[in-house]
């Protein structure tokens, strides 16, 4: 009945399916504004994260990339805006979100071992009082293996290198068994081995049908790593598949004078090249 009505209204089934997909998207943000003091860091931003894809959030320093995600997850207060997660209110979907904060946001001299940090990912499962059993430890260990850190399980977290710390954070997120993974600058200041390890885990997650959103700063790898891109500079600049949204024009719009024209052309060309390769295969 509704279908018939919709057709009479001139809405095609495709459009309807589209609307349903957007309504149930892993993360939809509408009109989100966040400000520190009187200066908005993020202004009236809309974002729709596509399910089962890897999305990069890209923009210059101070463009509000991290702030937008933190506000979307309720970590910092928003001035205005609506956020839906899997088509429902954020609070009802907390268990399906795994967040990986910036490495620098915690004190690494905190008295805790690698395995204990990963065990924090089992927080919901353990609840307040349940005892930690061998099964929990085994689950945590499996997550450490996935990021190549199993040998480090009993080390104090302060003894790890930056890249290793980042992988422990990712292992903690894996332990949650979530459907939506949100990572804040996971590749900032890490070694090449870590970058490879993280990206391969993220690609595995995508193959399992999970959705991955990453705040990313390295323009050179965007086209290689991600399906979709979201360009932001306080306001939304562009959103969509890398081929269409990550172009010389959109980059220019996001970065303005901060990128040399040559750089912009190069990146735009790289994205185009990537597209043609994808098209060819």
């Amino acid at each position: 009945m509704t279908v018939v009505l919709a057709r009479e209204n001139g809405i095609s089934p495709e459009q309807e399916a589209d609307a349903a997909r957007i309504a149930n998207a892993p993360l939809t943000i509408r009109g989100l504004t966040v400000s520190y003091g009187d200066k908005p860091a993020v202004f009236s931003v809309d974002m729709t994260v596509e399910a089962g894809k890897m999305t990069a959030i890209v923009g210059p320093n101070g463009a509000g990339k991290s702030t937008m995600l933190k506000a979307a997850l309720g970590i910092v207060p928003a001035l205005s805006g609506r956020v839906n997660v899997f088509g429902a209110a954020l609070e009802t979907q907390r268990g399906r979100i795994a967040y990986v904060p910036q490495r620098a946001s915690v004190d690494w001299d905190f008295p805790t071992r690698v395995i204990d940090v990963v065990m924090m990912g089992l927080y919901r499962e353990l609840g307040l009082l349940k005892r930690i059993t061998g099964a929990h430890r085994a689950a945590a260990r499996t997550c450490l293996e996935r990021v190549g850190m199993a040998d480090f399980a009993t080390r104090q977290i302060g003894q790890l290198s930056g890249g290793q710390q980042q992988r422990v954070f990712l292992a903690r997120a894996l332990a949650q068994g979530a459907d939506l993974y949100v990572l804040d600058e996971p590749f900032a200041g890490v070694d090449a081995a870590t970058e490879k390890a993280i990206i391969s885990v993220l690609k595995q997650l995508r193959e399992e049908g999970k959705t991955v959103v990453v705040v990313h700063h390295d323009l050179a790898t965007v086209a290689d790593y991600f399906d979709n891109v979201f360009l932001i500079n306080t306001r939304k600049i562009a959103e969509g598949p890398v081929q269409t949204a990550f172009t010389a024009e959109t980059l220019q719009a996001a970065y303005g004078g901060r990128l040399a024209t040559a750089q912009v052309d190069q990146l735009g060309a790289a994205a185009a090249l990537h597209t043609s390769q994808v098209g060819a295969t």
Partner: protein, 401 residues
């Protein structure tokens, strides 16, 4: 005398004080650990100083209703209310102004304390009620401790411990990584409030024993002491409880064993003694261990460098290196390597080559992370792995001088 005190043989009051203080020490140490881990240790100082006006006002209210103003429960409720107000002011200042938390703590602490002193002075000049002993809340007074007082401490301590047992996971999570905790739906501000409420409870029940000026020592010194001995937060909590209980018990016994020794300050001093011992002698984080580690490390570096220099035929100038090589029988007095010296030097150079391969090998990352130029490769790799490395290095090449 002291032994008698330690064995609770010094009479009813002394035993009561010792037991009460021990319970307080344990619960203060455990509660304080979470503040310490959250890096908000000084908030407890603001809370404790903010109790004073409440004590005075509660006294006045009780006198106005015809009492003598000495009801301990009434005074403690008063102190809790004013500490709560102080805490609210502190939170409001940090959240709604540009004032940083340390500045806000300074402001709240001094204003509330000043206000409290004014009220106590006014009470003295009024000459109403049985006001003697009110100043005991400043530095603690255990002389007239009653069974009921000990009971209040025991009940308060048990209640805080129960809450901590129940909430230890979210509190640890918030202390370590508040952003992550918040993304998981834990309200950071509520957990912070809970921590503050626990600190307030411990402060209020501890007022009578150590007084508001020194209670902060009971909250902070035990966790800092405990931190020296472990790298695990759950063990820091347990050790802090033990350190707090131990300091309080020994302190109470000490003060009971000699006349006119104030209980609270003695407990704090004992607590400090435990801290100083830990600071000096703790196995990994202690000062002595650090110094010894440094000296040992320096010698190992010199020895290793000396061996590598020998292997490569370089001249050694460093006096310490020469001395160490000679002492180990690797170098003769005339500067020529002994037989063992030559062998050890060759081995050192070969190990360097082995390590270079390990560090270039992605699959051996965990092992490579252990490389510090000194570690014997046999301690981290199996014989088979080393043989495999040696195959890749090939036969020993002649080293050109």
């Amino acid at each position: 005398m002291l032994l008698d005190a330690l064995l609770l043989q010094l009479g009813y009051n002394a035993s009561l004080v010792a037991i009460g203080a021990t319970l307080l020490g344990a619960s203060a140490g455990i509660t304080g650990t979470f503040l310490f881990l959250r890096k908000r240790a000084l908030v407890s100082d603001a809370i404790s100083h903010a109790t004073l006006p409440g004590v005075g006002v509660a006294f006045l209210i009780m006198v106005a209703f015809g009492g003598d103003g000495r009801n301990l429960i009434g005074l403690l409720i008063g102190s809790a209310v004013s500490a709560g107000i102080g805490l609210w002011c502190l939170n409001w200042l940090t959240r709604n102004t540009r004032l940083a938390e340390d500045a806000a703590i300074g402001a709240v602490l001094s204003v509330f304390f000043g206000f409290g002193v004014v009220i106590l002075t006014v009470i003295q000049s009024l000459g109403v009620g049985r006001q003697a002993g009110l100043e005991g809340f400043l530095l603690g007074s255990t002389a007239g401790m009653l069974w009921n007082d000990a009971l209040i401490i025991a009940a308060g301590g048990a209640a805080t411990l129960l809450v901590i047992l129940l909430m230890r996971r979210p509190m640890t999570l918030v202390a370590f990584d508040p952003e992550y905790a918040s993304a998981r739906g834990i309200s950071v501000s509520q957990i912070d409030m809970l921590m503050m409420a626990l600190v307030m409870a411990v402060t209020v029940v501890g007022l009578k024993v150590v007084g508001l000026i020194l209670i902060v020592a009971l909250l902070i010194i035990p966790p800092v002491t405990a931190r020296f001995w472990t790298e695990r937060s759950d063990l820091v909590v347990v050790f802090a409880g033990i350190a707090g209980a131990l300091a309080a018990f020994i302190g109470a016994a000490l003060s009971a064993s000699a006349p006119n020794l104030p209980t609270g300050p003695i407990i704090v001093l004992v607590s400090f003694a435990l801290f100083a011992l830990s600071l000096l002698f703790a196995p990994n984080r202690g000062v002595l261990a650090a110094v010894m580690r440094h000296v040992r490390f320096q010698r190992q570096v010199h020895l290793r460098q000396g061996l590598l220099a020998l292997a490569q035929g370089q001249v050694i100038y460093e006096p310490l290196t020469l001395r160490l090589l000679r002492r180990h029988g690797l170098l003769r007095a005339d500067g020529v390597a002994t037989e063992t010296g030559v062998a050890r030097a060759a081995k050192a150079l070969r190990d360097e080559h082995r390590w270079a391969l390990v560090r270039a090998d992605q699959s051996l990352e965990a092992t490579a992370a252990l490389y510090d130029g000194l570690r014997e490769i046999e301690t981290v790799l199996t014989d088979d792995q080393i043989r495999d490395l040696d195959r890749r290095i090939g036969t020993p090449r002649e080293v050109l001088a």
